[in-house]
């Protein structure tokens, strides 16, 4: 089926935001075997909106219109289209995550779907109401597999996959920091995905809709393991990731964001002499933090990180980006050390994922 996409929004015309809705809709249609033949973007103005929708209905049998359905004064999409086509009698499409419902209406030879521009609302309405409609009318979908990778850079993955048999499928890369997504599209996607997994091993942490903290959480649950976390430079983000998963209270006991030296000593029992001798950002301190949080909270595992997020706080021996990670268990521990030269927020994210990956690898 031929599809046209019309997006409205001043912010798209001013380049304030990138048009991810158009890309997302196009991707969904393409996956279903529908061909997107026309994408138009116009400002929140009556004339251009009406004109764009009219033109789209002449080019495609299905028109997806995004934006301008909300409650505010700049939400004028329906009114603009009615100026051209007259009063419309549409079917309402349930919006489960926001207020403005979608609308389905036949205009000329085309079926037009109006969607809110807010991405989660657009995703939900499309998935629930439009996807089944398109699927019924589809002319043969592509098989697709998505592999989630962490712990290896895109260029290295690309290099490693050079000699892997992709079985005639099309492979594309997408960096969704800090992970890399591999998309395999084609008849033999399943076989190609298996070949890729064999080549990359544990770098692939999941497929499809896999969520990293869910994967780690599932492992903790399956192994009847509990965990406590002591964080310095990640500032609570490791705990935040773990608790993104419903039911995480079954294995997550507590998290301590010990930002000050005092809190490291008081709450984790890090020795003052350790900090004096090696500094708070040191292998020694990380180990004492991991041991301390484990013993004091009575969990199976203790996970700790300490590092310099920057942009300030570096020393001659310890540049910004230095980080020590430790995982402690009954009778042992593992320690790792990196220097991630990333801006502050990306650094926190990369360290948090790396810490969770230590837990994951502990079980593999």
């Amino acid at each position: 089926m031929r599809v046209a996409i019309v997006c409205t929004g001043d912010e798209l015309m001013q380049g304030v935001i990138v048009n991810t809705n158009a890309a997302w809709l196009a991707e969904q249609c393409h996956k279903l075997g529908s061909e997107v033949v026309w994408q138009v973007t116009v400002s929140d103005d009556e004339g251009p909106i009406g004109e764009a929708v009219q033109e789209a209905t002449s080019k495609a049998a299905c028109v997806l219109v995004s934006g301008g359905l909300g409650p505010t004064t700049d939400d004028i999409t329906i009114a603009s289209v009615e100026k051209v086509f007259g009063k419309m009698k549409g079917t309402s499409l349930a919006n489960k995550v926001g207020t403005a419902p979608g609308v389905q209406v036949t205009l000329g030879k085309a079926v037009v779907f109006f969607l809110p521009g807010v991405p989660p609302e657009l995703y939900q309405i499309f998935s629930d109401s439009i996807l089944p409609w398109l699927r019924e009318r589809q002319e043969g979908a592509h098989a697709e597999r998505v592999l989630h990778c962490f712990g290896m850079r895109e260029a290295v993955i690309d290099e490693k996959l050079r000699n892997v048999d992709l079985c005639g499928t099309r492979l594309s890369f997408r960096v969704k920091f800090p992970e890399v997504l591999l998309k395999v599209l084609g008849q033999k996607a399943e076989k190609a995905a298996a070949n890729i997994r064999q080549c990359l091993g544990d770098v692939v942490y999941g497929e499809g809709d896999a969520q990293f903290s869910q994967v780690v959480g599932d492992l903790l649950r399956a192994k009847r393991t509990t965990i406590a976390v002591a964080e310095s430079c990640t500032g609570g983000q490791i705990a935040d990731l773990i608790t993104d998963i419903s039911g995480s209270s079954d294995y997550f006991e507590r998290g301590l964001v010990t930002y000050s030296n005092r809190s490291k000593m008081e709450l984790l029992g890090v020795a003052e002499v350790t900090i004096q001798k090696h500094g708070a950002v040191s292998r020694e301190c990380a180990v004492e933090m991991a041991r301390g949080v484990r013993v004091r909270s009575g969990t199976t595992l203790g996970l700790a990180v300490t590092g310099i997020a920057g942009p300030t706080g570096d020393t001659a021996e310890k540049p910004v980006g230095t980080v020590h990670l430790a995982l402690a268990w009954d009778g042992g521990e593992q320690v790792e050390h990196f220097c991630f030269t990333r801006e502050r927020k990306a650094f926190k994210q990369l360290v948090s994922w790396t810490a969770l990956n230590m837990v994951r690898e502990h079980f593999l």
Copy 2:
């Protein structure tokens, strides 16, 4: 000057890549005071490319065409346009980072610029050859103000602003959850922004590039205040937000993610009887958490939240979304209670911002 943007590429039509070229070009034009009136994206096919460029020349005085200039067989932009307009005699625009030069040509009443689709090449040719051309023809840039709001829904803000004098400017809304951005565009943007601020009061937390946790952090620093945080349902996200700001160690002492009842008692001194009588998700528990974290870490302020993020964990009296927030200081405290019916991640985010907003309002 009115500008139209035409992008070509199968990968854009299949959603394989997001159209960042359109956003970048739109942003550049907008900054120069040019109005982007039309954005079209088509596949690498002769018919649609010719049609799109022809239509664009009827809508704008300047047309920017991106993609299809390279050496490969799918680079057919020039040939497609010549099918419509006949043989063109254009001026070549130097490409310093790639092989295919840009082309400038007058078609009908419009000046059309052809650019390669490879982003760095497009950026360079636009900046060197098109930007000066547009600047010479600009009619006066727009004044613009962006206001960041938190704590009031978009629809309510819209309602409140109905009677505010916008001084002939154009106002647009953007939800960037959990905040709402108001953009004021026009000659008298400054005056209009002042009127809006007067109407909305403290709901506006900043302007321009303002970051919420920076605003809160600046207040803490200015008031020489230190803070410690005790979190349950937000799982570390409050600490994560605070520590996104470089230098936050000056005012952030520690954060405790007390997920289990045991950790609430051990680390914060919450009384067992409080949890037995009122439950861990209660006003009473929130207050004891805030007091406990403040006293034990020796900070000026203690901030605490306890709630049910869901989707499981609700009871008859306490539905999913219930949350209690408390802020304690020497000799007093403030407690708030909400029921936010949002999915888990959005709930955590909204509660974290609401908690930081209590700190902000404490100083206002």
